[in-house]
Subunit: 269 residues, 2 copies
């Protein structure tokens, strides 16, 4: 159990190691992990849940800079971030890196590998990060048996497509200012959805990662942070961000997608 205490995971049940699993423990752990959307879909009974849980593997945490998988790696599993954060990226033949996304606790990585059975992106820990590994063939088998799970899986993938579309809009026609504003509002919403503060958070990624992700030079990102701060929209202290005028920032972002601002109520019990 040693490594668990080093993580920010609340009541981690001991698993695999001791072979006996308490369903209650699992529920608690998964709730802390905020992965309930996938792991605890409404309407799955205890028995099904047991099956589902049985296939999920809690891996040892990754250190900052460690890879969860590399480009071209054989696809076996999808992963859910439990704590910490990841970035996914590719590298073009000229060595140029393109950051494709950042994964926060409760978010999934690897769905883009299903199509070709190998990972098109690499996933790297931005800080100490722990994940759940979900073997895909087993998940698939299970979701054939559990109707709700299948639907949930399709929903999650659909949402990812949607998010990517949003990103295309941002990259395709937003100004630098709008991009950064949208990025911050987006992050804020994601934190809020996971039960973290929406107005105050730490960026685990570098300015360069942000710039790369948003299609901007890191200098531009830096300048914008300063400007936003001067305009009283937020306060920056290195990695720490506090949103002071969320509404204004939202307006700046040239918002279009109502879904971004008003996250619908989760079935929270």
């Amino acid at each position: 159990m040693g490594f668990l205490s080093r993580e920010r995971v609340l009541s981690m049940p001991t698993r695999k190691l001791e072979s006996v699993v308490s369903l209650n423990d699992i529920r608690v752990a998964c709730k802390a992990c905020s992965l309930k959307e996938i792991c605890l879909p409404v309407g799955i009974d205890k028995d099904d849940l047991d099956h589902l849980d049985a296939i999920i593997d809690r891996k040892r945490p990754l250190a900052r800079g460690e890879h969860l998988f590399h480009v071209g790696d054989n696809f076996q599993s999808i992963y859910a971030v439990r704590s910490g954060s990841l970035k996914t990226y590719t590298t073009s033949e000229d060595g140029q890196e393109q950051v494709m996304g950042f994964q926060l606790p409760g978010e999934l990585v690897g769905l883009d590998a299903i199509a070709e059975n190998c990972h098109p992106l690499a996933a790297k820990a931005l800080e100490t990060t722990s994940v759940c590994e979900i073997p895909f063939d087993e998940l698939e088998k299970l979701s054939g048996q559990i109707g709700g799970l299948q639907h949930q899986l399709l929903r999650v993938m659909s949402q990812e497509i949607r998010d990517d579309e949003q990103n295309m809009v941002i990259l395709g026609q937003k100004s630098a200012e709008q991009r950064l504003a949208a990025f911050l509002i987006g992050l804020s919403n994601r934190f809020r959805r996971r039960g973290f503060s929406a107005n105050q958070f730490n960026l685990s990624m570098s300015r360069s990662d942000i710039g790369n992700y948003l299609g901007l030079a890191l200098e531009t990102v830096s300048r914008l942070f300063t400007r936003f701060q001067n305009e009283g929209l937020l306060s920056v202290d290195r990695k720490h961000i506090e949103l002071l005028d969320r509404d204004q920032l939202y307006t700046f972002s040239g918002a279009h997608c109502a879904a971004d601002e008003a996250p619908k109520a989760q079935t929270e019990n």
Copy 2:
């Protein structure tokens, strides 16, 4: 049957109308529609195929400019293009349009609507276009029963995520020249995969749509077409494109993803 003759669909079986369905006819029609990836997955037996086919509805063709669905429309079905082409797009509150993609025969639309049960994009016919309507709840039910279908569906969605990621790379860090080259190579590959000519095709979308999709001004697109032509890379005649130096164009595109260039062999029987 009247409207069918107006389309470019080969041997369309009469269906629903006459209530008796010949399996052979279906196979032929779906092959022509080049949708076999979804509709004719390997390993689905005749019985299953029958079930699958029974839920698919061939709709009357759309005229140029007609919408298949609008933003916010309730999500019922996904659609497969049989002939013609579509564009999907959103409109931001300031009236600015963002083109998200183009769908060619054999490609699907609407997968991004599963998550929220409503369409985040509108889909509009770029020319006379016919589609198959696949009611999603029925597809979902079926894919719970037919293992191969479930996997196929996940694969298709995964591929869409992947394609969107590719687009992010293009929008995020490619030059105008690279974007257009990548766009043309991409189109060419998609045509080839569907059995059309890879080196000669008609653009059903306007320069403005292309520019919008690529995050460029239409003037830039126009200038690039002229330049590519002057450089002997292709020949343009209004909508008609002939790729003269595909390799060079491919190099220009700053290619990264091997998958783009070498489409793997389809299980063709």
